[in-house]
């Protein structure tokens, strides 16, 4: 598998706090990669650096061979590198279908596209994806009136609508009840296998990580601690120590 996202030697500090120090990692094309680590280990900072939310202090981030560390959020999103948020973010005062429609890819949208209407096949696709995540019956409701878990599903569907090459998910199962988690794992796997979207996931829930990922990175204190297959990480003494606070 070729490398889709290549992070090399990235450092980022906020004032005196070093959030990431000399972090290097690679997200292979087509797989599901997970990023784990205790609270405050710099996972979300690394995510934000990759999607261009803030500039990095040093190092390089390449997407599909192209340097993206100096691009802005929108430009990176239009390249096909999309993220979802830890605190779910949807457009609350619009209904679900509209949330989906406005999420179409903006890769080649020209000036006059702003004033066009959506063709029927786009609406069909939006409804089809809502059905895929199990929100079809709620499609006419205002997104802000959905429950938290439903909003997470909607955000996931919106991300799929955007047809990204790689999707960065920040804790997709946080705050969702256990029954729903299994359904979500299945859908994430389907998105990967059926739609061919590379996934890069931050996750705390070890059951989810071991189930989902084929490739795991572990951060601790802003540095890359370990990398390997799920079973290797599970048995890595340094990872266990980091989680239990031996560091």
């Amino acid at each position: 598998m070729s490398t889709l996202i290549e992070v090399s030697g990235v450092s980022k500090s906020f004032g005196g706090v070093v959030a990431n120090h000399d972090v290097s990692m690679a997200v292979p094309d087509g797989g599901i990669t997970a990023l784990i680590g205790p609270n405050g280990s710099g996972k979300t900072t690394l995510f934000n650096s990759i999607v261009g939310y803030h500039p990095i202090d040093s190092g390089s981030i390449k997407f599909d061979g192209q340097e993206i560390s100096d691009l802005r959020v929108q430009e990176i999103a239009r390249l096909g590198l999309l993220r979802t948020f830890q605190q779910t973010r949807i457009y609350g005062k619009m209904d679900c279908v509209k949330n989906m429609l406005i999420s179409v890819p903006n890769r080649n949208s020209s000036f006059t596209d702003m004033f066009k209407k959506y063709p029927q096949d786009v609406t069909d696709k939006a409804e089809h994806l809502l059905e895929f995540v199990g929100l079809y019956s709620k499609r006419k409701l205002l997104a802000g009136n959905l429950s938290f878990g439903q909003q997470k599903l909607l955000e996931f569907a919106m991300a799929l609508m955007n047809e990204p090459k790689v999707l960065l998910l920040d804790e997709p199962t946080a705050g969702i009840n256990p029954t729903l988690i299994n359904g979500l794992i299945d859908r994430l796997k389907l998105a990967n296998s059926e739609f061919g979207i590379t996934l890069f996931v931050i996750e705390h829930n070890m059951r989810v990580v071991m189930n989902l990922a084929d490739n795991i990175y572990c951060l601790a204190h802003g540095e890359m601690l370990a990398h390997g297959k799920p079973e290797e990480i599970q048995n890595d003494q340094r990872v266990i120590d980091a989680y239990l606070g031996a560091h």
């Binding site: 929108q74 457009y91 609350g92 205002l142 729903l180």
Partner: protein, 349 residues
């Protein structure tokens, strides 16, 4: 939307028969349509996009001055004309008048839009209350700058060419303003049916998310503001000719009257809806004129009380309140089982 055609009917009937039946109030009717334009154009940004501009009056004043400069400048030296203003009566032939007015209005619209693009580039870095204060500052500064510019008469203002012929032009100005209001409405109706409305609504609901999804937010914001400015510029051009004399602080850049009225009208009617600003403008204008007539001396207090009631009890405005009360009539679906359906897994099985 409910009773769409009734609303169209009422609007057209008021627009056409109002001034015919009450010719003494024709200027009031002209101002009414001006208020509708104000409120509709403010709502593009304030209601649909969530950017509360307090400085939209800027484009009204710019349109007014640009039109005046073109109208006079085509035939005379503006600097000399304003210096002579009041002393020398300059006669414009009907041909000169209408050519100047037509070109002036077009120029007003274009220049206002361009200025919106330039200012947008500066102030769109600001969010929330900072944007509101920033735009207010720009509008106030513009009034002061024009007041210091002797070429256009400075604080003393300048008078506009007289309407040719025996008529004083009130009927002509009325038709112009009414047409502008209708054109603004139809344009926005078309605009809000396109992708544009979803994008600016998305910016209103969560701009950071919209950026994260790759929407060209800056492009949408700039275009939205220049659309407001386009119609406001034309309204300024017409209003300037209606009053016949323009000066910077009270007529062209009246930040604390017209500039604030546009916000209040949209809030009163219901921001973020197509009809809300129109209904708000009509209500506001009627209430305002009523209090000015009946409660003279207390009119600002009455207006203040209205604002307080609006903001405290009716934040979503009249149409917004109706949407909450009867959502089904507005095509909004409400999940009736929302209370018991807190568990999202039920929808997935």
């Amino acid at each position: 939307m409910m009773n769409k055609y009734t609303l169209y009917g009422i609007t057209l009937a008021v627009g056409i028969f109002g001034p015919l039946m009450f010719p003494a109030y024709i200027t009031q009717f002209t101002v009414l349509w001006l208020m509708v334009v104000f409120s509709l154009t403010w709502d593009i940004m304030g209601g649909q996009m969530g950017y509360n501009s307090l400085g939209n009056i800027l484009f009204f004043g710019i349109g007014m001055y640009v039109c005046a400069i073109v109208q006079v400048g085509l035939y005379y030296n503006v600097g000399e004309y304003t210096a002579y203003s009041g002393a020398v009566k300059v006669n414009f032939t009907p041909d000169q008048y209408f050519t100047g007015l037509a070109l002036g209005t077009v120029a007003a619209a274009i220049v206002s839009s361009l200025i919106a693009v330039i200012f947008g580039w500066i102030v769109f870095g600001l969010r929330g209350p900072y944007f509101a204060i920033g735009t207010l500052g720009v509008a106030i500064a513009a009034g002061e700058l024009i007041g210091a510019w002797d070429y256009v008469g400075g604080g003393g203002g300048m008078s506009l060419p007289l309407f040719p012929g025996d008529s004083d032009g009130t009927a002509f100005n009325y038709v112009a303003m009414f047409t502008l209001a209708i054109a603004t409405f139809l344009f926005l109706k078309w605009l809000y049916a396109s992708r544009f409305s979803l994008a600016i609504n998305a910016i209103r609901d969560d701009e950071e998310k919209a950026e994260g999804m790759g929407i060209q937010t800056k492009r949408y914001k700039t275009v939205a503001w220049s659309i407001s400015a386009f119609f406001l510029g034309i309204s300024g051009a017409i209003f300037g000719n209606m009053t016949g004399f323009i000066e910077p602080l009270e007529v062209a850049f009246p930040t604390v009257t017209f500039g604030i009225f546009m916000v209040l009208m949209a809030l009163l009617g219901g921001k973020g809806t197509l009809w809300g600003p129109i209904i708000g403008a009509v209500l506001f204008h009627v209430i305002k004129e009523f209090t000015w007539t009946v409660l003279l001396g207390w009119q600002w207090i009455a207006l203040g009380a209205l604002i307080v009631v609006n903001v405290v009890f009716f934040q979503q405005g009249l149409v917004g309140w109706m949407q909450e009360r009867w959502p089904e009539k507005f095509g909004i679906e409400v999940d009736t089982q929302l209370g018991v359906n807190e568990n999202p897994s039920e929808t997935v099985t």
